[in-house]
């Protein structure tokens, strides 16, 4: 059997789609160029995972129209659970497959010039700003077939923009719901924190129904400009039939800080790439990732921090639990470029295997092209430590519960970092479900 790789949508379709959304010409041109490249570029090549038979390009529908939600009461139950109850102002975007279905932004943030809107509205109303950031200095169109395809067929996402000196201390939350079969979501998220600003962004990808076949292709580009600080948390929880490519990229300018807390809990085959580029002197990147793999899924997680500026600090923490017959590859790359003196690259990858058939691999890599730096890594792949189990059991805790405590503890670095209680609670529940069932 040969895998169909021809892109099922042509130039004419892309033109019609773009004009239907009232997009500026630069965006149409970007799409058309990308479409041409998508035909010729190869797939990405994640280390130690073969993806050439995966379905990233075949789907019946590029866009389905769904009804917006008139109020939060109409949200499906699993989505409601993600939203903080209470009277406090919500800064919330909900997207239903491809339809911007709900948006609220507090008057206070609006007055300060904060932009939080769906990507199509951003293209129409903040075209110049969007053009400055969309697939320029973060993720490039021509990295490989999936980035090109993403640009050509982009059909969802949000734009977050925080002006100079504005500190947003309440989280902005986005929920992306996948509810239709045989669709593709090309979701693009841009978070821009201008000089001296600060923002907390939390996103959830959630399938509300069983899915037999769907494609999700996510690109997130995060910019922490001079002395800005971005905290980016994500909980991905897509269904078994969804094949996902997710690329989350951060660019930190001088003294900029980007912190990631990623709970990657999807049940389908997944390629995840999270790269933080520390361009400016004194910039800082911290990336924490936790994963639970189960069933037969195959996943590849590459996390990288690349140091360009002097005195930059990069930390990678990855903890994965692998059970059933699942396969998870964890590649961690700390890279220090020539000239990035006094920089510090640290990483830790730990994989916990819960069954005989599970396959897990932690590959820590340090690439260092500068003498005056610090770097370190720790990696392990193993089972639940019998001595830890013995200790907990010696206090009367039954084996099953002791294992549960150890596993939850193992995944705590991301759980504890999630800034929205309801999302944290949901992540704990998802972990519980994935580990126990």
């Amino acid at each position: 059997m040969t895998t169909e790789t021809k892109i099922p949508f042509d130039q004419q379709y892309v033109r019609a789609f773009s004009s239907g959304r009232g997009e500026p010409d630069w965006l149409l041109q970007l799409r058309l160029q990308a479409l041409a490249k998508a035909e010729e570029l190869p797939l990405p090549n994640p280390d130690k995972t073969k993806i050439d038979k995966w379905n990233f390009t075949q789907f019946a529908n590029h866009v389905v129209e769904s009804a917006p939600y008139a109020s939060l009461d109409e949200l499906p139950e699993p989505v409601k659970a993600l939203i903080e109850a209470g009277e406090e102002t919500k800064n919330l975007y909900v997207q239903r497959d491809h339809t911007p279905a709900y948006l609220s932004l507090s008057d206070d943030l609006r007055a300060k010039g904060v932009i939080f809107t769906d990507i199509f509205t951003a293209a129409r109303e903040h075209g110049e700003l969007l053009q400055k950031y969309l697939m320029k200095d973060g993720v490039k169109v021509d990295e490989h077939r999936l980035t090109a395809l993403h640009a050509a067929l982009l059909n969802g996402g949000v734009f977050v923009y925080v002006p100079k000196n504005v500190e947003v201390n309440v989280p902005l939350q986005a929920v992306y719901i996948q509810e239709n079969d045989d669709i593709a979501l090309f979701n693009h998220v841009i978070v821009v924190a201008e000089d001296n600003s600060r923002v907390i962004y939390v996103e959830n990808y959630i399938s509300t129904k069983e899915t037999s076949r769907a494609v999700v292709n996510i690109v997130a580009e995060v910019f922490a400009n001079t002395n800005a600080r971005v905290f980016f948390a994500a909980v991905d929880n897509l269904a078994k039939g969804v094949t996902t490519y997710v690329n989350r990229r951060g660019i930190a300018a001088r003294d900029g800080r980007i912190e990631w807390a990623l709970g990657l809990m999807s049940d389908g085959d997944t390629v995840s790439e999270n790269i933080t580029r520390l361009i400016g002197d004194g910039s800082f990147g911290d990336t924490k990732t936790v994963v639970v793999s189960r069933g037969e899924q195959v996943q590849n997680f590459t996390t990288s921090v690349v140091h360009y500026g002097k005195h930059t600090e990069g930390y990678i923490l990855k903890h994965g639990v692998v059970r059933d017959s699942a396969t998870s590859i964890f590649n961690g790359i700390g890279k220090i470029e020539h000239g990035a003196s006094k920089s510090n690259a640290q990483q830790e990858s730990r994989v916990l295997m819960l069954s005989e058939k599970a396959r897990g691999d932690a590959n820590p890599i340090l690439l260092i092209d500068e003498d005056d730096v610090m770097a370190g890594h720790a990696a392990s792949v193993g089972r639940v430590d019998p001595i830890q189990l013995y200790y907990l059991m010696s206090r009367g805790i039954p084996r099953h519960e002791a294992e549960r405590l150890i596993i939850h503890g193992f995944l705590a670095p991301v759980v504890e970092a999630i800034p929205i209680e309801s999302v944290k609670k949901q992540l704990i529940e998802v972990i519980e479900r994935k580990v126990q069932s």
Binding site: Y391, S394, R399, F410, A412
Partner: protein, 259 residues
């Protein structure tokens, strides 16, 4: 009143016999001290009683109030009333001290009888204050980054929270400065009652200056070779172990390299 009875206990580690016939009875209300040089099997005894996976009982019996301890899983032993304060407590990342303690208490009380959060916090605050522990320690991850002294104090905190019938303290005094030693002793003395029996394993006499044992046993070559009252510990402190070896004709008292 609880009774822990050990009869003719033989224990092997990785095929090597370490304990060669230990007999001992600890009753509620009694404090026993087991002393002896390094490598004579003291820690093996405590691990075998608790059920450490590495230790294999090849002969003999351990019962608690007539129940066969050796047939119980580690957690069942604990719920039956045994407690081991470990020489090297594990560090468990991501699990707070408080969450762990509550899980342990609730495991004892059983489903439907869980301790209320208020009652738990009150008890925890009270015991931590008694042991002069920083209240932050409740919310730190279990033993992670704790100093040696903090870990030992945390073991005693667990002892006071869980209120076992019989506690075994494995070298609870090693690595403690004198102030920490006094606090640990204070905790153990606070537990003293007719309902609580205790087996203290140590190779220093100094802890026994603060906790007066009812019985002192000396272990050599994987057996208890001599038993007596508190005066035995004092003589050991003054004269060392050589006189016992001489008296019993023992040349090499060890059976193992103790971990």
């Amino acid at each position: 009143m609880a009774v822990l009875t050990i009869k003719d206990l033989h224990v092997s580690v990785e095929g090597k016999e370490i304990l060669k016939g230990v007999n001992l009875e600890v009753k509620g209300g009694e404090i026993h001290a087991i002393m002896g040089p390094n490598g004579t099997g003291k820690s093996t005894l405590s691990s075998a009683i608790m059920g450490h996976p590495k230790y294999e009982v090849t002969q003999g019996s351990i019962t608690l109030d007539g129940q066969n301890v050796l047939e119980m899983e580690v957690d069942e032993r604990a719920r039956a009333g045994l407690f081991l304060a470990m020489q090297y407590p594990s560090e468990i990342s991501g699990v707070t001290n408080a969450d762990f303690l509550r899980a342990a208490i609730n495991a004892r009380l059983g489903e439907g009888n869980e301790i209320s959060l208020m009652k738990f916090i009150r008890k925890l605050d009270e015991k931590m204050a008694f042991l002069e522990m920083n209240p932050d320690m409740a919310h730190r991850y279990l033993n992670e980054g704790f100093s040696g002294g903090e870990k030992k104090r945390n073991e005693i905190l667990q002892l006071m929270m869980l209120e076992p019938k019989i506690a075994i303290l494995d070298e609870i005094d090693s690595g403690l400065d004198i102030d920490a030693l006094k606090i640990v002793a204070k905790g153990i003395n606070e537990m003293r009652s007719s309902e609580f029996g205790c087996l203290i394993i140590t190779h220093y006499q100094r802890l026994l200056n603060y906790i007066t044992p009812d019985y002192v046993h000396v272990m050599m070559q994987g057996r208890i070779v001599k038993s007596g009252g508190p005066e035995l510990a004092q003589r050991l402190e003054a004269e060392g172990y050589d006189w016992i070896k001489k008296e019993l004709g023992i040349e090499d008292e060890t059976v193992e390299q103790e971990a």
